[in-house]
């Protein structure tokens, strides 16, 4: 099967996967204890008022009936109305999606920018001081919780050292987003760079001992050219898979970073919606998450295939 056919097949698989996710999430969220009417009414939640609100939202109907109504709206592209905000759930999600994409994309980019030169350095100076430092220091990023790391970065760079960055927020315009999202993205990057470094370093060490690299060296090519044009390109293949898996985890996993940096992404929307039992928004967010995860893994497979011509699709 060609790459194109493979991509189309995987995209078609999105339909049953998304359907399965919506069914599971719909029934799970409705079966979890907690009532959105009571949450919204607060101390004014008398029995009568709760009943009126639940009726207005259609929550007093049998669950299968509610599900059919939800699916009917979904086929028309309507993800329902937020119980908390009374605005379209789809609109809420789409408004926040670019923020999370920025965070994940920028974070992944920074992770690569950190990981590639450090792993090359470590591989080049194997078992010497640079190698030991590169392997040990980035583990700090793995060891410290993102919450703590975020606060430390904010204190250092947003407050104490000349206020180089804003204290959280998303900013306005491309330059504003770049400025505001640097620290959050760095926090993401420091979490996944150590894993990329270990993977890429191992890949480079293996490739640097292969015959074609020896041939390249014996031809008199500079070491830098050997590393960049021959070794790195082959070593990076498995690291791309590792990166893809970690990006998949990041989808929905950026919640803590979004909260610390007051970044209005989907993770925050998801957790607030769960606490408020805002069913339509929870369903909309999980649907988007499932699509994003499938697309990320598909992109990883495609990248893998483009980097390694030996890969075949069945």
């Amino acid at each position: 099967m060609s790459l194109g056919e493979y991509v189309v097949r995987r995209l078609l698989q999105l339909v049953p996967i998304s359907l399965g996710v919506t069914i599971l999430v719909f029934f799970l969220i409705h079966l979890v204890p907690g009532d959105p009417a009571r949450t919204i009414l607060g101390n004014q939640a008398t029995t009568a008022r709760v009943a009126l609100l639940r009726h207005a939202w259609g929550l007093d109907r049998p669950l299968p009936v509610q599900y059919l109504k939800f699916m009917g709206r979904l086929f028309h592209g309507d993800l329902g109305t937020s119980l908390f905000y009374s605005v379209g759930a789809g609109r809420l999600v789409l408004q926040r999606l670019p923020v999370t994409l920025w965070l994940i994309g920028f974070g992944a980019l920074l992770a690569v920018v950190i990981a590639v030169p450090l792993s090359a350095l470590a591989a080049t100076y194997r078992d010497r001081l640079p190698d030991h430092v590169v392997r040990a220091v980035p583990l700090v990023g793995l060891g410290f919780p993102p919450f703590w790391l975020g606060i430390v970065l904010l204190l250092t760079f947003a407050l104490n050292l000349g206020r180089l960055f804003p204290v959280g927020g998303y900013g306005h315009g491309f330059a504003g987003h770049l400025h505001s999202m640097f620290l959050p993205a760095l926090t993401v990057a420091l979490g996944i760079a150590p894993i990329l470094i270990r993977s890429l370093r191992a890949g480079l060490l293996e490739v640097l001992e292969s015959d074609y690299v020896t041939t390249a060296r014996s031809k008199g090519l500079p070491e830098r050219r050997v590393l960049v044009r021959h070794a790195l390109r082959n070593a990076i293949v498995s690291t791309v898979c590792v990166l893809g898996v970690n990006i998949g985890y990041l989808v929905g996993g950026t919640l803590v970073i979004e909260q610390v940096y007051a970044v209005p992404g989907i993770g925050q929307l998801m957790i607030n919606s769960i606490f408020e039992r805002d069913f339509p928004v929870v369903q909309a967010v999980t649907l988007v998450f499932s699509v994003m995860v499938v697309l990320v893994y598909l992109a990883t497979d495609v990248a893998h295939a483009l980097l390694d011509p030996r890969v075949r699709f069945d």
């Binding site: 204890p33 009532d35 919204i40 904010l154 407050l159 204290v167 007051a262 929307l269």
Partner: protein, 518 residues
């Protein structure tokens, strides 16, 4: 020789005097200058929750209510003490002898933010709309029979019965005045960006992120508001809000945690204020669990609550033990109400009188991740152990916790109340009247004598007699120990020292028309 030696001294003294005078003049001038409000500037307020809705008649969330109050105003409003009511969009009223008719005179020259003059037709429309909201705040206007508008400057309320809390009910934010017929829009469209007479008007909103109001150029208080705009952002993390305040990104931080109060009070450029509030925290005691239906058990539990320990460890000393289910900032609060205070010997004596002298097992519902509740629960657990009461924690996420308390699927739990009106009736009905819609604050408490006192107070026009009724009611409720009265705590607000005039009233609202940037 003496004259020559004294000359330099005199010169020095003269210079010093001149300098002192100049400094004093400068200081006085500076002080006078600092006291004068300045026009212009914008502020950002970071809060813990986003606003849910701006439909003032159907919203119950403080983060929505305090914003709608910047746009929509009422005929009367609570004064800064939270107890008295002062004329606002009305200049005064008269009441008929039978207490069934209230005639309000409207303030002249009031306009909505769209330039339209406010008339009695708008008032009638607004309050008729508010009282029709059966899912919302309509119940507080239940005493109103109908409203008439005999002329543009007069509005008359006809009541079904004499109703002592009426003026306070009219001052509820839900009864804020809006243009008749929603200024030609649908109801839903109107409340997406409401119009009112308040100091600010709608500018823009990004749901889940921020709301911005801008200055209302038609505001009836001349010269106000001083600010050009106010933006409210949504920042859940308390550390981030504090960093944003210190970094100048926001000017006001809503509800910094108790454990940061001392630090903020000593932070340069930041003012940390504790405003007296109507917030009262309680231990809910569900009488559907047999041991808790025993009044001696409830009294023992109340006597075993070490309120000072809770205030010290949870509020870091910023609170006072509660002696009544009514807070001090509400009218007719009686400081002499004999709410049971910590006394283990008396607690043991009460247990000995109960049907469970050896104690029993009980579960305490605690919100998962709710540090304050967990800390209070641990203190309570240790105290009740001395009475033979074995407390087990049952943790649930806050939504489930709230749901279970509302459905009375709990044994012991925590709750709190903040007042919405400057009258005790709303809380009293909610707390002690089984027919008040919440099974007496979800406890099942039912004392007909107390309910009778509440009903008498509702129709008693004489404030002194009304005060006596509420004192009697509060005393009986305290003796019945239907709730564990825990503590009264202040509203905590941290703001830039450049912000002047910011004041939070006991009901929790704030008048941003008085705020200016130095």
């Amino acid at each position: 020789m003496k004259a020559r030696r004294s000359l330099p001294f005199l010169a020095l003294a003269g210079c010093a005097a001149l300098g002192l005078t100049a400094a004093t003049a400068l200081g006085a001038g500076h002080a006078r200058h600092a006291a004068m409000p300045k026009r212009g500037g914008s502020i950002t307020i970071a809060r813990i929750e986003d606003s849910q809705s701006f439909d003032k008649t159907n919203v119950f969330q403080n983060e929505s209510i305090w914003l709608t109050e910047q746009i929509n105003e009422t005929l009367y409003t609570a004064a800064k003490d939270g107890k008295t009511l002062i004329p606002w969009l009305a200049t005064g009223y008269t009441m008929s002898k039978d207490g069934l008719t209230y005639t309000f005179t409207l303030r002249k020259g009031v306009k909505f933010s769209n330039g339209q003059p406010m008339t009695s037709a708008d008032v009638k429309f607004s309050i008729d709309d508010a009282r029709a909201q059966s899912k919302g705040w309509g119940y507080l206007d239940a005493a109103i029979k109908n409203i008439t508008a005999p002329d543009p400057g007069t509005v008359v309320f006809h009541l079904k019965r004499r109703w002592a809390p009426f003026l306070a009910d009219i001052g509820l934010f839900a009864n804020g005045i809006i243009p008749k017929n929603f200024a030609g829009q649908t109801r839903a469209a109107f409340y997406k960006h409401p119009i009112g007479t308040g100091p600010f008007m709608w500018d823009k909103r990004t749901v889940g992120q921020s709301v911005t109001f801008k200055r209302n150029p038609y505001y009836w208080q001349k010269g106000k508001p001083y600010l050009d705009s106010v933006t409210w952002t949504f920042v859940t993390d308390e550390n981030t809000r504090e960093l944003q305040l210190r970094g100048g990104q926001i000017q006001i931080d809503e509800f910094p945690p108790f454990n940061s109060i001392s630090k903020l009070q000593n932070t340069s450029g930041v003012t940390m204020s504790l405003f007296p509030s109507t917030r009262t925290d309680y231990l809910d005691i569900n009488e559907s669990y047999a041991p808790l239906a025993d009044v001696h058990v409830r009294r023992a539990i109340s006597l075993a609550i070490d309120r000072n320990a809770i205030i010290k460890s949870v509020l870091f000393g910023h609170g006072t033990p509660a002696n009544s289910f009514l807070p001090p900032q509400v009218p007719f609060y009686d400081p002499k109400t004999p709410g049971l205070q910590y006394n283990i010997a008396q607690a043991k004596a009460e247990m000995a009188k109960s049907k469970y002298p050896k104690g029993f097992k009980v579960t305490l519902l605690v919100g998962a991740g709710a540090q304050v509740e967990t800390a209070m629960g641990q203190i309570l657990q240790q105290s009740l152990k001395q009475l033979g009461i074995d407390v087990t924690f049952h943790q649930e996420d806050t939504s489930t916790e709230f749901n279970d308390i509302g459905k009375r699927k709990y044994q012991l739990g925590f709750s709190y109340w903040t007042m919405d009106i400057a009258d005790p009736d709303e809380l009293v009905t909610f707390a002690i009247d089984p027919a008040g819609g919440a099974s007496s604050f979800y406890t099942g408490y039912d004392n007909p004598a107390v309910v009778k006192l509440s009903h008498e107070a509702q129709v008693q026009p004489d404030p002194a007699k009304r005060a006596a009724l509420y004192s009697q009611l509060a005393k009986q409720a305290a003796n019945d120990a239907f709730l564990g009265f825990l503590y009264y705590s202040p509203y905590r607000w941290a703001y830039s020292s450049k912000v002047h005039g910011f004041f939070v009233e006991p009901l929790g609202n704030y008048h941003l028309e008085d705020v200016w940037l130095g």
